[in-house]
């Protein structure tokens, strides 16, 4: 049997896991609703922070409010969706520490999809919807000169962003295969990365900007695409086509994250008994 048909046949199995998760969460109905509402909070705060900044200044790193909001929108739409779908891979630490990953590994399904689907935090759905909403509003108020290319870019970039942030989540979570206390290190790159992409890159400087923006690729999922959408030249001097490279950064990142994950699973040590 060809490998891909073999994998394809697992589809219903993953749906079953999702159904199980939905049913489990529904068994705690009240707290689910509370979670759903309170989860919007974090993303609202991100947006408010930027808006509050513009109460005290007219420009942020050379960009006005509507322009900065496009970056906020691209960042929060991508991050919130990735957080919904992949963010829970952080629970890997618990699975490794308690040896619960054993139970995941004896099932006839991929370990990563199982982990994501079994604990899919449906309560974060509200946040993802809000994040997408921020992007739509930001694009609408920025009064862009829409071309077919820019429409494609506006769709493609958040999707690439989801893949990119997802890869960061997986790669940093994989650290716990070797180092169980890796939680805060991971957060520096996931939540730190989100914060980095929320603001125009021009507000950062030096090695920090170079490392996050170019070394790790965070610059390519919100700042440069936003420039391309707004039709602005890069104050830092990169050419215009850089705004289109988000998928080209996201896919290798995903491949790398998958490799780290697979390598990590082989190094899983389980626990005594």
């Amino acid at each position: 049997m060809a490998e891909w048909t073999y994998r394809l046949r697992r589809g219903p199995a993953y749906l079953a896991l999702l159904r199980g998760q939905a049913r489990s969460q529904a068994s705690y109905r009240t707290s689910f609703v509370v979670d759903l509402v309170s989860n919007v909070g974090a993303t609202v705060l991100d947006v408010l922070t930027v808006l509050v900044l513009f109460r005290v200044t007219r420009e942020l790193g050379g960009f006005d409010r509507t322009e900065a909001m496009v970056m906020v929108g691209l960042s929060s739409a991508a991050f919130a969706a990735a957080d919904l779908m992949v963010g829970n891979v952080e629970s890997l630490r618990q699975y490794v520490r308690t040896g619960l990953l054993d139970a995941v590994l004896v099932r006839p399904l991929g370990a990563l999809p199982q982990l994501l689907l079994m604990d899919l935090p449906l309560r974060k759905a509200s946040r993802a919807v809000f994040g997408a909403g921020v992007l739509v509003v930001a694009l609408a108020t920025a009064e862009l000169a829409w071309t077919p290319g820019r429409v494609a870019l506006a769709v493609l970039t958040p999707l690439a962003g989801v893949v990119f942030f997802g890869a960061i989540f997986v790669a940093t979570a994989s650290l716990s295969f070797w180092w169980i206390d890796s939680g805060e290190v991971g957060a520096a790159f996931t939540y730190g990365g989100r914060d980095f992409t929320t603001y125009p890159m021009t507000v950062y400087s030096g090695w920090f900007r170079a490392l996050f923006a170019y070394g790790m690729g965070f610059g390519f999922v919100s700042y440069y695409p936003a420039l391309a959408l707004l039709g602005r030249a890069d104050p830092l001097g990169l050419p215009g086509w850089v705004g289109w490279v988000a998928p080209g950064v996201a896919l290798p990142a995903a491949g790398l994250a998958a490799a780290v994950w697979r390598f990590g699973v082989r190094h899983y040590r389980s626990t005594g008994s």
Binding site: M1, R9, P12, A13, L15, A16, L17, R19, G20, R23, S24, S27, Y28, R97, G99, L100, L101, D102, A103, L105, V106, R107, P108, L109, G110, W179, I180, D181, R266, H267, Y268, R269, S270, T271, G272, S273
Partner: protein, 350 residues
């Protein structure tokens, strides 16, 4: 999927090893690196339909072996095949053909009724509905599940949950069933239910069973073959009888006397093990002497009130086996290199 020929071994390991690197404190900021051989060269061949008891003291490497057989852990070296597959490289294919009950790691959905878990597992393992229903019907009857099928797993007693776990592991009709301490913590009734069920499953002959346990009554009831490991090595592989013969476990003669003897009797080939009840009860071990030799010898020196002959106890044999010194080179901990690595807070060495 390739079907394994009927006479091919279901499980085969050759020189299977698993080493863990652990870091131990060696001063305030120094950590010493040690390589611990948890499984230290195990050769095992299990054929279809066998029921194998896999026992050993805590830390002997039982669970580690089971985890390498089920694809959870990668071996450090050696060869391992289960159902003709490489467990780690072909993990998901193998998972469709084996069932696993790890006592502490539930396969059930914590917040859902058992019935829902079973239904979800049908999709996870892609079992045709009719087959699934037939197996579930059988488990419901034999494990008496009907009283708690609609109770969320988190509210089940340990005994009920374990019966649920067994069912969950069997619904896809596995060729091999691995059980890691399936009766640990169960009360007498649940324990007997689980044992009885496994005995029937094994008697049917098409499921291979490998179980680890500390409860030797499980083994006596279920397994004709006993594999004992200690320090990561096989120290016995054979029947329980063979174990008794090999380690000279002995029948005992318990003699109750009318009056205590002034001098404890000396019987050739049957040392006196202990004296109880102020000397009115004597316990002899039958080494080279037979039980009747002992009785006859005693009758010559004392007035006997009662005689009992006690069959060798497997617990005692195994306890002796664990105490048997292992060869020098198999010491589990080998100091490899001591490096002063940076202190890693909380890096647990489990």
């Amino acid at each position: 999927m390739t079907a394994t020929p009927p006479d091919a071994p279901v499980i085969e390991t050759r020189d299977l090893r698993k080493e863990f690197v652990v870091r131990v404190r060696a001063g305030r900021f120094r950590r010493a690196k040690r390589v611990v051989g948890a499984v230290d060269g195990i050769d095992l061949t299990v054929r279809r339909g066998e029921m194998v008891g896999y026992i050993g003291p805590n830390g002997a490497g039982k669970s580690t072996t089971l985890k390498m057989l089920t694809g959870v852990l990668s071996p450090s070296s050696g060869r391992v095949r289960v159902c003709g597959l490489a467990p780690v490289a072909q993990r998901t294919r193998l998972a469709l053909r084996i069932g696993v009950v790890f006592g502490q790691r539930s396969q059930l959905w914590w917040d859902l009724p058992l019935r829902d878990s079973f239904d979800l597992l049908r999709h996870v393992y892609r079992v045709p509905a009719a087959e699934h229903a037939a197996r579930l019907r059988r488990c419901r009857a034999e494990l008496d599940l009907d009283g708690f099928l609609d109770v969320p797993v988190r509210q089940l007693s340990l005994g009920q949950r374990m019966r649920g776990e067994l069912t969950a592991a069997l619904l896809h009709g596995p060729e091999v069933l691995f059980l890691d301490e399936p009766t640990i913590g169960l009360d007498v009734v649940s324990r007997q239910a689980v044992r009885g069920f496994l005995a029937e499953l094994g008697a049917a002959g098409d499921t291979t069973l490998v179980l680890t346990t500390h409860d030797l009554a499980d083994i006596e009831r279920l397994c004709r073959r006993l594999v004992v490991i200690d320090h990561g090595r096989v120290v016995h592989d054979g029947s329980i009888e063979a174990l008794h013969t090999r380690y000279g476990s002995r029948r005992q003669v318990v003699a109750d006397l009318d009056e205590p003897l002034a001098e404890p009797p000396v019987l050739p080939g049957a040392p006196l093990l202990r004296t109880e009840a102020d000397g009115r009860r004597l316990v002899f071990a039958c080494e080279s002497a037979t039980a009747s030799d002992v009785v006859a010898g005693l009758a010559r020196v004392a007035a006997l009130r009662d005689i009992a002959i006690v069959e060798p106890d497997i617990e005692e044999v195994v306890a002796r086996l664990y105490r048997t010194p292992t060869p020098v080179d198999s010491g589990a901990v080998q100091e490899c290199s001591i490096t002063s690595t940076a202190k890693v807070p909380g890096a647990s060495a489990s």
